[in-house]
Symmetry: C2
Subunit: 292 residues, 2 copies
Amino acid sequence: MATGRTHRPATRSRGIPEATVARLPLYLRALTALSERSVPTVSSEELAAAAGVNSAKLRKDFSYLGSYGTRGVGYDVEYLVYQISRELGLTQDWPVVIVGIGNLGAALANYGGFASRGFRVAALIDADPAMAGKPVAGIAVQHTDELEKIIEDNGVHIGVIATPAGAAQQVSERLIAAGVTSILNFAPTVLQVPDGVDVRKVDLSIELQILAFHEQRKAGEEATAEAVVADAVAEAAAKDVKDTAAEQSAEAKRTAAAEAAVPSAARAEATARTESTDRKGPDGDVPAVMPA
Amino acid sequence: MATGRTHRPATRSRGIPEATVARLPLYLRALTALSERSVPTVSSEELAAAAGVNSAKLRKDFSYLGSYGTRGVGYDVEYLVYQISRELGLTQDWPVVIVGIGNLGAALANYGGFASRGFRVAALIDADPAMAGKPVAGIAVQHTDELEKIIEDNGVHIGVIATPAGAAQQVSERLIAAGVTSILNFAPTVLQVPDGVDVRKVDLSIELQILAFHEQRKAGEEATAEAVVADAVAEAAAKDVKDTAAEQSAEAKRTAAAEAAVPSAARAEATARTESTDRKGPDGDVPAVMPA
DNA sequence: CCATCTTTGTGCACGCGTTCACAAAGACAT
DNA sequence: ATGTCTTTGTGAACGCGTGCACAAAGATGG
């Protein structure tokens, strides 16, 4: 999954825990699949497997909605689909606007999952005058100037931001001022919003970085003792640099730290490689300096 | 953020909590911004504000990495950037393949955040022979047949799946067999993977559904007593249908439940509307039946 | 060198979420 | 009817994550 929950502090909504709410769409998808295959009932065990969760967790999740199962049998698929849809508010059709019709915005506009799940793209909005009028996914792009009018005329409460990072905050403010109270943010920025507005963030770069962390850990854990030692050396060297470089400029300090630490790390990696088979830093042997 | 963590059960990696790991990229981004503005040091309070988190949480997060701050002063921006980058494994350059070059895949390929953050698009792969050779984001798309060779030749460990749901599982199996151990999955499916493989899921539809839930709740909470009563009625009616329709077909049961419940819900909504000002189901008055 | 002021690092308590394990409920067969 | 078997629904224990609040550390000024 992705990251970046910016939620109201834990206002357990009508008794349904946030964690449960986040899983309901997952169950719903699994149930819809079963429904299409005309499966009449499903046990918590089966459904849990399909949704990739623990069966006890699933049962507890459902218990927050009510007692919708039958002991000894399981859950009625169609009935459960309806109950979850209703709970999630998908029995109504939500108009959504997408702001920022670049590569990503266009991809979102074309995403089929919208219409089939209770959402309708009410408008596509972009700041580039050259985009205005152009059809994307069968909908003519409108200019940002129209934003407020579009929101109000269509009674839009959910907005998707797919603009560059720089524009996101301002766009969010205009959306909110016009009546939007829920935002799905794809721009790599932390949005500052007033209370009462929900923001969910999807950040590709963050997801990849989390994967990289685990990947690095996997690569490192075969190199046990020696690597740990080498790491400690690198650590100490870096720390030392920090301590002794107290009056140097930040830039000089960073460079010094890199020089001191990187060779040790490289050594650790080399060691790891000779021990294990092929696991190594994917690109080269000496780690590059970090991005800007 | 997005949803869908499919992680190793909680193998707290080298003492760093998963929740902290998930926030490190956030801090890193805020720090990089400060770095570009040549800010030498930053306090936990300031940085926390920029990253949108509690300052105590931030300090605790950093404490897992070591004591990198200076009391009375704050944190050295450059030094911290380096430490976090190293911890996340971004001091090396990770080659990444993107499978499924549709709208979304193309958007991802064009996403600038890649290169600047330690990732490099090693290849774009698509099953459509017509796509083969076409340049997307300056890289020629390659056919799925080449998948294994590409992975192995480039030492790729991280794969991004942007295919339709139907193809995702098979693609993941091929990726894993070829050596990929971390997957970022954009396809709306739960991937079944062996132990040792990390999967993170980004699901637009799920994010929107979670927003819809909160949105519905906001709309409903102005309508207090009467709505609750009406809801209870709908609940009872639905339950009743379920009970009495025990021997009916699933399809008939669902229809009956919808008929019994929906009018009540509509009533509740109507009540809400007269009481509050303009908050209403965005599209029509009668909730549509849920998606297929 | 001492006093003061700022800011970190963390012990502690609390609450949420997860999981286990089992009793209650119902289906189904005899 | 009665017993057996399956599966739900949930009480209780546990562990992780969060946030408070404060002591320790160090900078800064006199």
